[in-house]
Symmetry: C2
Subunit: 308 residues, 2 copies
């Protein structure tokens, strides 16, 4: 099955306590596509400037990502600069230059219109809705958003959410969107906006998935060396959606497995800058880390307990 | 099997966004004993003042807690006053009156000396060590501590830890004790001080247990109504140690189950002020919530995955 992603391709400059890199390949659609490419066919829609090197396009192609929808516009590629402290939980943005991304109007190529799944990465909710108008009844639609749109374009966002099956956001955003500090209640509020499934990412604390039937809690993989958290959320979404499209079924069982595959991909990406670690992955390692999540969370039912 | 706990019995005054109570029963040893009493025999050592009402002692007795070691001293009982904001993750201490607790010198009654397990709640590490000198080779020893002792009595604490099997602390304390921000590394450092097992409590994010072989991640139960988090950590420790003593074995399997029972007891205690919710518990509810943790964390192994 094929998976359409619409989002950003960018150059990131990142400083962490463990190192510093300049203008490396980044962007939500880049991380998402690469992670998802291990599981399913990916149709990428994004925009880059004249300065975007063929080597990066070739990398995406080498992962089997369809780059027909990767527009090239006059001007420069989106650039982001940020740094992380020792806690590594939140980036401090130093510079944002939207460049060609500022006037991005996603145009879905004809060959993408029958994509089975759609992931709307964090872009203007009005553009997200516009993407949905251009595709022919995908089987599953997920989206991300951020504080900027929640506060600045709330109405457009609520309107987009009516058409979305799965919302994947972080805990702060969930609280802000629902105007509710308790996450269980917040997920209920957000479900009333449309999405049947809410996945709340909590960084080093893992993820929670809520639907009308149940809650699923997945830990993050406890890593000894977290090098750079940039892209973890989008890699999570890529692994999650990629696996769902791979299994061709969206049952609770598949969704839970997909959350784990998302967590697996996120756990790899933070081990190095940019896509360096994910680039070098093979399926055996992915499966092995999945089984490590199984071990990490396993506990037996108790026997009969009575006070001695 | 019997479980000795040494800690505080106190009157708490607590304000949360959901209500306010004055001078209710609290203290680390109280929460611990009550939680553990559902699983095993508890021998309590603590001190109260002349103002401590018989009704509270009778409550502990009604839970089967042995109160022979509950000293009564001239003066007032330990009082703590604190408040929580909407995030409910950290108490803001408004007042602490140690009163009779200030000169507490735990004396272990002869009938307690053969206790099979010992839990040293958060008291001066020198007193914790003194307790260990008074008991006859317990099968398992766990302890808690806090930032105050980590910074103020570091040497004494490290000395106590040499004799401890299981350290149960929160994430901030683990980082402070190990002087290391990464929790996996911090747990390794702390294990080098003596304890073979490190349990790191992360409040609403659950708990991690580390030993030389493996890491276990348990979520917190996602509650729609968290009323008052006071006592959650000590109730966790009580459920954990109580279950371990109940099973009479300290295998990895039992330890993991014990972490879940700890999480179960903590999830109940925060549903109301003081011990109100825990008082009303029956074993069926405890077992049911344990099974809800199973459901909360369950996911299947994936089938064969190949890119379509």
């Amino acid at each position: 099955m094929s998976l359409l992603v619409v989002g950003s391709v960018a150059f990131d400059s990142v400083k962490t306590p463990f190192g510093e890199v300049d203008e490396i390949l980044g962007g939500s659609a880049t991380y998402f596509s690469t992670a998802a490419s291990y599981f399913t066919d990916v149709n990428l829609v994004a925009v880059v400037g004249e300065d975007f090197p063929a080597q990066h396009v070739n990398f995406l192609k080498s992962r089997g990502v369809n780059t027909e929808g990767l527009e090239r516009q006059p001007g420069k590629t989106f650039r982001w600069k940020g740094e992380y402290g020792y806690q590594l939980n939140e980036a401090n943005t130093l510079e944002t230059h939207l460049n060609v991304f500022e006037t991005f109007k996603p145009a879905i190529p004809a060959s993408y219109k029958d994509s089975d799944g759609v992931f709307l990465a964090n872009i203007d909710p009005a553009l997200q809705l516009d993407v949905l108008k251009q595709v022919n009844s995908p089987k599953i639609i997920a989206c991300d958003t951020m504080n900027f749109w929640i506060s600045g374009k709330r109405e457009a966002l609520i309107n987009t959410l009516k058409h979305v099956d799965i919302l994947i956001i972080n805990d702060g955003e969930a609280r802000q969107l629902a105007e509710e500090s308790n996450l269980v209640k917040a997920a209920n509020v957000i479900r009333s906006y449309g999405p049947k499934h809410i996945i709340i990412k909590r960084g080093e604390y893992g993820a929670l998935m809520f639907n009308s039937q149940s809650i699923f809690a997945a830990p993050a993989y406890p890593l000894e060396n977290v090098f750079d958290p940039t892209g973890a959320g989008d890699s999570f979404a890529g692994g999650f959606m990629g696996y769902l499209l791979n299994t061709k079924n969206f049952s609770e069982t598949s969704m839970r497995q997909a959350v784990i595959f998302g967590s697996v991909m996120a756990s790899f990406v933070v081990e190095d800058f940019s896509l360096n670690r994910m680039k070098a992955l093979d399926y055996k390692e992915i499966k092995q880390r999945y089984m490590e999540f199984k071990q990490l969370t396993h506990f037996e039912e108790p026997g009969e307990i009575f006070k001695q």
